[in-house]
Symmetry: C2
Subunit: 430 residues, 2 copies
Amino acid sequence: MTDRPHVVIVGGGFAGLLAAKGLRRTPVQVTIIDRNNHHVFQPLLYQVASAAVEAGEIARPIRSVLRHQKNTSVVLGDVTRIDPAARRVTLADGATFGWDYLVMAPGARHSYFKHPEWEILAPGLKSVEDAFEIRTRILLAFERAERAPTAEDRHRHLTFVVVGGGPTGVEVAGAIAEIARYALKRDFRHIDPRHANILLLEGGPRILSSYPERLSEKAREALRKLGVDVRTEALVTSIEPGLVTAVGWKIPTDTVVWAAGNVASPLLGMLGAPLDGAGRVIVTPECTVPNRPDIFVVGDGGAFTHDARYKVLPGVAPVAMQQGRYAAREISADVAKRPRKPFRYIDKGQLAVIGRARAVAEIGPFKLSGFPAWFVWIFIHIAYLIGFGNRLIVMIRWGISYITFERGARLITEAWRPEVGQTGGRAGGQ
Amino acid sequence: MTDRPHVVIVGGGFAGLLAAKGLRRTPVQVTIIDRNNHHVFQPLLYQVASAAVEAGEIARPIRSVLRHQKNTSVVLGDVTRIDPAARRVTLADGATFGWDYLVMAPGARHSYFKHPEWEILAPGLKSVEDAFEIRTRILLAFERAERAPTAEDRHRHLTFVVVGGGPTGVEVAGAIAEIARYALKRDFRHIDPRHANILLLEGGPRILSSYPERLSEKAREALRKLGVDVRTEALVTSIEPGLVTAVGWKIPTDTVVWAAGNVASPLLGMLGAPLDGAGRVIVTPECTVPNRPDIFVVGDGGAFTHDARYKVLPGVAPVAMQQGRYAAREISADVAKRPRKPFRYIDKGQLAVIGRARAVAEIGPFKLSGFPAWFVWIFIHIAYLIGFGNRLIVMIRWGISYITFERGARLITEAWRPEVGQTGGRAGGQ
């Protein structure tokens, strides 16, 4: 350690990683802590879950991303305590880190609305492990259906329920439908994967509720054409082994994907700051804890309520990226004795992809759907991946799967179980 | 009565009516008995049920159809007894008719597979009354959904289950989907009729099982695109008020249409002839009861097992029409002392219509789907209707609804309950 100010960043997701990168030329010492060794390009996780790309193509070791950044050290560890009075972070192994600036970017986890027992039956999609788990379940379901002794078993195995009609739910449901309709079409003898039942259950009145209504309807229509049965106002009331219940429907299924709700990392409760209902810190216009200009909360963990257009900024990658960069800039301003400026979100629009060559997008005044929206989606994601190293392989793979409808990453692997129940919560950026 | 031979025809459906018409120049006396006063163009009944045409446009009084046929009298009555030894038919009101020739064309009713209690919950589609009942239920369901106090009620009202994936089931499901997607689209404020759930449940491995497999798959795809959720191998195991159960799924619904099975009229049991499992008389190659050349059984009531292509001829309009005409020809041959010839079915192909401008057809070596099949369907039906009197009105109505997607016949009427439970069965041609 030097006498330069010490910046501790908790979480290596978009927000944390961009905060670290933003400080590369600032005379500070940076420590970035994550409980996973890798950063994940989360918007494409559903592609791993649906066997379109390999995990390695969208995840990269944080250490290697920051390899050339001399003022930064990467720590693999699990944050268990944060002491704002002593300005100190403690890891599970007892190591402590004092801070001059703390950038909290611990991300969010799934919220099961007071039903934590649902997690094992209905995994969410936040980490590479989650994606593997879901991929395994989906592919195994088809295998089991092929060998099912009764029609009832066959129906149960071939029924896929996605809970939650946000972008993740829409993307996952669309991806499962594509697997069933195209990728696996000719692979089985006793079943026709195209006859799979894919249900997307949304508790609210429409899917993609943060989008304009017209795009919600377009998305619903595109999903329907892909073979996804979309149900709105369909609150799930029970998930048991082999059975989902929603608005009176009893749906026998072995494969449920949870995309319905988030709750921020429990670490945020240790900051002594006001939290909202989803466990997020209600931050100042400078993305900091009230009266603690040294503690930034960025990404999914912060509730930013100072935007003209949004009541609370959504938990999406662009917000996390811009806030991470913003925190770095304000710390640099402090160091340079320049005044801080409030955070302003530059809304580049919203995008959700529905299978191959279909998407819906809202970009400024433009509302796109179908192929144009999908093209924009590809373009933006490739552009982001460029800074990320794997662009060529992913592009080639996408090109191939676009032409052939094949899925390259269809190995069924022993699932990497996420470490459920660890008391310290998930300090990682996933 | 004269000393001409007396032909008694039981049933005024396609088979009975064409038998009567075929005898118009034969020196016989004809009595045609039906418990309804009208003949129904049954292939279009589903159009009445789905509010596309008015009942009057596809039904005509038998009396008026046979108005100019001097040798024929029409009797409105309910056949309760048939005495083959005495060659006598008895009606509910005690009237009797002796015969030289008996043409049995009593049609079939729905079979509820040992669950007669399902009939009230899941009406079938055999008569105009049935069609009204189903139309009323469908239209009321949308009205109820509009006023539903909870999401659960709304889902139940907006869920339509059609049981049975034969041509009738396919046509009804497609028609309901069209009502929901096009006709009612803008009529409600609190619900979006397009979000209705329409399920077609088929117990066997594919819908339209008498068609080539490729067309079954085309039909399934066309239904899916219309928003019908097709489930095969989905045997219904229970129908209760508000709930259908099939392969483990519990589907809350108030509107179930039965199109799953037929059983022939119980009158056929009085002929002293061998019956098959569906209650049909196993007829000779001349469509007669064995050893009773005076008793013809034509249409749905006969099991004709002497065709090279079909194990048993299907219960469709072309078979009924050809057999009715055949019976008339053979009776004429007897009268003219010419020898009889065995019945030969001329297969003109199969057609099923899936909503507006979509259909599947098998015509000789040709397998059509989509618009061409639909065009053939229209052409054939208009051609048949030409002999029937209402061609112009129906054509105009179809033209209008094709262009506007509107349904003209959307009045909710007090349902005409079919006379369920009448012991004598239904002697009518429905």
